[in-house]
C-alpha cells in the first residue's frame, strides 16, 4: 500500500502567455501509514502536487502508482481512487451545501453507492473521529462556528473511509486553539486508524511537531525529502527559498554557537527544554 510518483511533470496552460512548469520531474514514494508533511512557499507546486494524488489533475508526463497500479492506465477506476485518497481542500467549509451536517457528511458515501444505513453509519463514525459534538449533527452547516465547520467538512471526506488523507492547510484562518485542536485531531486519527496522512502547511512548528517525514517543494521541484531533524538542519537553505526552521531550532543553534553543548537537531519546545536542562546540569 503506497503511492509512488515517477518523473512527474505538469505544465499549466501550455502554449499560452501564462504557461508555467508547475511540477518538474517529481519522483517520490509515500509508504502506507506515514505522516508526511509538505512545505513550500505559495506557488512552489505543493497544491498542484496533491491534486495529482487523486487524479484531479492529470500529469503532463510521468506516472503515478497507487498500490503499484498505474493510475493512468486504461480502464483504471478513478472514482475508486478518489475514495481511497481523500483530499481536503483549503477552507473546506466553503464546500458545505446540505441542509444539515449529517446529510452533508453523507454526500461522499452516497456517491460511493452505499445504502442509506451504511452512509449514516460512516457519517457517524467520521463525525465522532473529528470530535464534533452530537448536538450539531442536525444543525445547518452554515450556523456552525469556523472551527466546527472545518471539522464537519473534514468529516465529509473521512466518511468515505479513505486509506490516505491529504489535507491542504487545514488550519488556515483558525485561531491558535482552533489550530491546535484540528492538528491534535488529525494526529489522533493517524494513531487510531492506519491511514496515511499527508499534511500541507505553512507552519514549520506544526509540521515539525507531527510529521515523520517532510517534503520541501521549491519551484516545482522536490528540494528535500527527509525526516524533520535533517530537513531543518538546512535552515539557511530553507530561508533562501522563503521558508524557515521552527524558532527553537534557531535558539539551539545560537546556544551552541555560544558554547552550550546542545543538540541542534531539536524541533519542538519539549525536546528543546529537555536538551537545555541536560546541558545546564
Amino acid at each position: 500500500m503506497s503511492i509512488r510518483l515517477e518523473n512527474l511533470n505538469y505544465v499549466y496552460s501550455p502554449g499560452t502567455a501564462y504557461e508555467k512548469h508547475a511540477l518538474k520531474d517529481v519522483s517520490l514514494t509515500i509508504p502506507h501509514g506515514e505522516f508526511v508533511g509538505i512545505i513550500g512557499h505559495t506557488g512552489s507546486g505543493k497544491s498542484t502536487l496533491i491534486q495529482h494524488l487523486n487524479g484531479l489533475i492529470r500529469a503532463t508526463s510521468g506516472q503515478i502508482y497507487y498500490n503499484e497500479e498505474n493510475i493512468y492506465q486504461d480502464g483504471y477506476n478513478m472514482k475508486e481512487l478518489r475514495s481511497q485518497v481523500g483530499l481536503v481542500f483549503q477552507y473546506p467549509e466553503h464546500q458545505l451545501f446540505e441542509i444539515d451536517v449529517m446529510t452533508d457528511v453523507c454526500f461522499g458515501p452516497k456517491n460511493q453507492g452505499l445504502t442509506l444505513d451504511e452512509c449514516r453509519e460512516r457519517a457517524l463514525e467520521a463525525l465522532r473521529l473529528v470530535g464534533l459534538k452530537e448536538k450539531y449533527y442536525k444543525a445547518s452547516p452554515f450556523e456552525l462556528s469556523g472551527g466546527q465547520k472545518r471539522r464537519a467538512a473534514i468529516a465529509g471526506v473521512l466518511a468515505m473511509r479513505p486509506r490516505v488523507l491529504v489535507l491542504d492547510e487545514p488550519t488556515a484562518g483558525l485561531d491558535p486553539k482552533g489550530r491546535d485542536d484540528i492538528l491534535e485531531q488529525i494526529a489522533y486519527l493517524h494513531r487510531q486508524t492506519d491511514m496515511t496522512v499527508i499534511l500541507v502547511s505553512h507552519s514549520m512548528e506544526d509540521i515539525a511537531r507531527y510529521a515523520d517525514r517532510i517534503i520541501v517543494m521549491n519551484h516545482g521541484e522536490v528540494m528535500y525529502n527527509d525526516e524533520p531533524k535533517k530537513v531543518f538542519a538546512h535552515f539557511r537553505e530553507l530561508e533562501e527559498v522563503g521558508l524557515a526552521a521552527p524558532q527553537v531550532t534557531y535558539i539551539m543553534h545560537d546556544l551552541k554557537e555560544r558554547g552550550l553543548a546542545v543538540d541542534t537537531g531539536v524541533t519542538t519546545v519539549e525536546e528543546a527544554a529537555d536538551e537545555i536542562m541536560a546541558a545546564m546540569r
Binding site: 487523486n54 475514495s83 481542500f89 451545501f97 456517491n111 452554515f142
Partner: protein, 274 residues
C-alpha cells in the same frame, strides 16, 4: 478548465484603442453592431470584416486571445446554426431526411447569422478587452447622465456593472475549486440525464451562492469604509474629456457605417440574401 474563459476581461496593452475615451468605444461598438444589420451582400461582409480586423490590429490584443473568448459562446453559436439551418424554409432543398430539411436559404442564413454573431461578440469583447471596467463605468455613466433627470440611478447601475466585471474571474476560480472539491468527494458531474445532471449541480451552486453573498457583504463594507456614498460629490481620477484622437475615431467609425451601408446596398457584387 473553466478559468480559460477570457470574454469580458480587460487585456492590458498600450494601443491607441486602449487610450481612446470609453464613450467613443461604447458608441462605436454600438454603431458597429447596428452596421452588421445594415447590409445584405458579400461586399458588406468584406467591409465589416476588414474594419474588424483593422481594429483588432490597432488594439494589439493577440488574435488567439480573442478567439479563446469565443469558446465560451460555442453553445450559443451552435443553437443559432441549428435553428437557422433547420427552421428556415427558403429556396431549393439541399437535404431532407425525416423531419430535417435543409434549404439553400437556410444554409445561407445560418452562415450569415453565425458570422454576424461572431463579429458581434468579437466587436463587443474588443471593447471590454481595451477598456478597464472602471473606464467603462465612467463612460456609461457620462453617456447616460441625462437619464438621471428621469430618476434613473445611472451611477449605481454603472458601479454595479463594474463590480460584476471585477468579480467574474474570482468567482470562476472559485467555481473551479468547488467543482474539484466535490469531485474529490465522489460527485459525478458528467453522466446521467438532464434532471440528474441538473441535480448534480446543487453541490456546486449552493456553495457558490453562499460565497458570492459573503463576498458581496464584505465588499459593501469595504466600500463604505472607504467613504463610498454614491455618485454625489465624487470626483474622478480620470475625468472624461474628448481629445483629437477621439474625434478622429468618431469620424472613422461614422465613415465606415455610411460606407458599409452604401456598399452593402448599392455595389452590385455577389449574391443577395433575403
Amino acid at each position: 478548465m473553466i478559468r480559460d474563459i477570457t470574454i469580458g476581461q480587460y487585456y492590458p496593452a498600450k494601443s491607441v484603442l486602449h487610450r481612446l475615451d470609453p464613450r467613443v468605444k461604447l458608441v462605436s461598438t454600438l454603431l458597429y453592431l447596428i452596421s452588421l444589420f445594415l447590409f445584405k451582400s458579400i461586399p458588406g461582409y468584406i467591409m465589416a470584416t476588414l474594419f474588424l480586423f483593422g481594429v483588432i490590429r490597432v488594439s494589439k490584443v493577440p488574435f488567439k486571445h480573442i478567439v479563446k473568448g469565443l469558446r465560451a459562446v460555442v453553445m450559443l453559436l451552435m443553437i443559432t446554426v441549428i435553428f437557422n439551418l433547420f427552421l428556415t424554409r427558403d429556396g431549393a432543398v439541399l437535404f431532407h431526411k425525416w423531419i430535417f430539411t435543409i434549404t439553400e436559404g437556410g444554409l445561407r442564413t445560418a452562415v450569415y447569422m453565425t458570422i454576424r454573431l461572431i463579429y458581434l461578440i468579437i466587436g463587443s469583447s474588443l471593447m471590454t478587452f481595451t477598456t478597464t471596467p472602471n473606464e467603462l463605468t465612467d463612460g456609461i455613466e457620462k453617456l447616460l447622465y441625462p437619464l438621471n433627470k428621469l430618476h434613473v440611478p445611472v451611477h449605481e447601475v454603472a458601479m454595479m456593472m463594474s463590480i460584476a466585471l471585477r468579480f467574474i474571474p474570482i468567482l470562476l476560480e472559485e467555481t473551479d475549486k468547488i467543482m474539484k472539491a466535490q469531485i474529490a468527494r465522489g460527485a459525478d458531474l458528467e453522466s446521467g440525464n438532464m434532471i440528474q445532471r441538473a441535480k448534480s449541480m446543487i453541490p456546486i451552486l449552493v456553495p457558490l451562492f453562499v460565497s458570492a453573498f459573503r463576498r458581496a457583504n464584505d465588499l459593501a463594507m469595504a466600500m463604505e469604509a472607504r467613504c463610498y456614498r454614491g455618485g454625489e460629490g465624487r470626483t474622478k481620477m480620470n475625468p472624461l474629456h474628448y481629445k483629437t484622437r477621439d474625434r478622429i475615431a468618431y469620424i472613422v467609425v461614422i465613415v465606415y457605417v455610411i460606407g458599409v451601408f452604401f456598399v452593402g446596398r448599392y455595389v452590385p457584387l455577389g449574391i443577395w440574401i433575403f
